[in-house]
């Protein structure tokens, strides 16, 4: 069971949240101009690192707000969490594998 800190509600059990996959994947700026390959990359391809990973979570049985978590996928350690309008934090322990 992961212990994840919601930026608004504080630390709660993983069972209160819903997972949303990789964070910082912007919608294409000019969708009409995209090739099939570019659409495939946007729709189907996500990073899958072994190590620090910025990902989205939603506090589905709390405040119901989306936010981002920096988590190590090898150790499952939750490194930090941050709001959607904040950039990915630069952490010394999360810098090695980007």
């Amino acid at each position: 069971m992961l212990l994840i800190t919601c930026p608004w509600c504080g630390p709660r059990d993983e069972t209160e949240y819903h997972y949303g996959g990789q964070a910082h994947v912007p919608y294409p700026e000019t969708p009409a101009d995209l090739t099939d390959e570019q659409w495939a990359a946007y729709v189907f391809y996500r990073d899958n690192p072994k190590g620090p990973f910025a990902e989205r979570w939603m506090h589905s049985i709390g405040c119901r707000r989306w936010f981002n978590v920096l988590r190590d996928t090898a150790t499952h350690e939750v490194l930090t969490s941050y709001r959607l309008d904040e950039p990915r934090p630069e952490l010394p322990q999360a810098g090695g594998n980007r």
């Binding site: 992961l2 993983e14 099939d36 495939a40 391809y45 996928t73």
Partner: protein
Amino acid sequence: MTAAQPLPEHPDFLWRNLEPRSSYDVVIVGGGGHGLATAYYLAKNHGITNVAVLEKGWLAGGNMARNTTIIRSNYLWDESAAIYEHALKLWERLPEELDYDFLFSQRGVLNLAHTLQDVREGVRRAGANRLNGVDAEWLEPDEVAKVCPILNVSPRTRYPVLGATFQPRAGIAKHDHVAWALARRADELGVDLIQGCEVTGFLKDGDRVVGVETNRGRIHAGRVGLAAAGHSSVLAERAGVRLPVQSHPLQALVSELHEPVHPTVVMSNHVHVYVSQAHKGELVMGAGVDSYNGYGQRGSFHVIERQMAAAVELFPVFARAHVLRTWGGIVDVTPDASPIIGATPVGNLYVNCGWGTGGFKATPAAGWTFAHTLATGEPHPLNAPFALERFTTGALIDEHGAAAVAH
């Protein structure tokens, strides 16, 4: 305590433990079931024996040691039914072909329906299966109870059993012995099985791969095939290839040993658990992946708790059983829950990955088609639809929810 007894004689080793040579025609990365089956069929079907299987740990110590051993071919779509049914036909003859009884037991699989939508899906899938030559039938609740008497088919449960599909030729096998049977025969045919050999990078000449860097030196290769399950995208990235897979923990558990009580395999998509009883007597259970990406070979306990609750709901007799052991593996899941078997944008580099939660049952067909692909450079008709290009063309084989199980 008396004086120590002398140790019994070590049984015969089933394969040689070799040092890697400097060059091979084909290098397979990953010594699990798929890698070993690929090596076996490269030798048997294509006469290619100058082959190495590189395994970073010990043979068959990853997902091959961690799965719930269910074998079935009752998938909805034509492409899936074709490759999984090919696998099932190979399973039926492999014990004799490999001269190794790995306890392949065709005890059937029930896929339960608990909602009207489940019923419609099941009836449709059984019909599709029969059109594809896959044995499948639709059973009403009283017929389900005849196949599996310990299953609670009472209408007074939270999610009553409204029926099930049944595939009589489905079953289970002893996973470790499957791997050892394939390893022994591949070794006899001249394949080098190399354990403790981790691929750390790729040797490239322009846009093609010409070998691998390992913790035991450089190994040149005519062609390289990745069969590394949960670590496929980590490896492929080292060759400059991005794969549309996400690695998740998948957990399973066993109870202590019990008298034989469970005569078949039961899978429930809706309350979400699947259960069989191993030959030795353990109840073997699994369910879906943990939601988050993870390489830790473990998951969260509430996932276990949920599948236990489902198991006790379906099988009241299990209420007094105990969880003996839980574990996790790393499964690589694709966007359409179907595998990727074929070429990559990098020359001479091929992948067999994305099997997600269902790779064990496909072991012989994955090996058969991947060996064909590595031997000829072209896909076998069975794996042609499972090419990486489908994510660009849009020709997906969407088995999410259609494959009789949620992933």
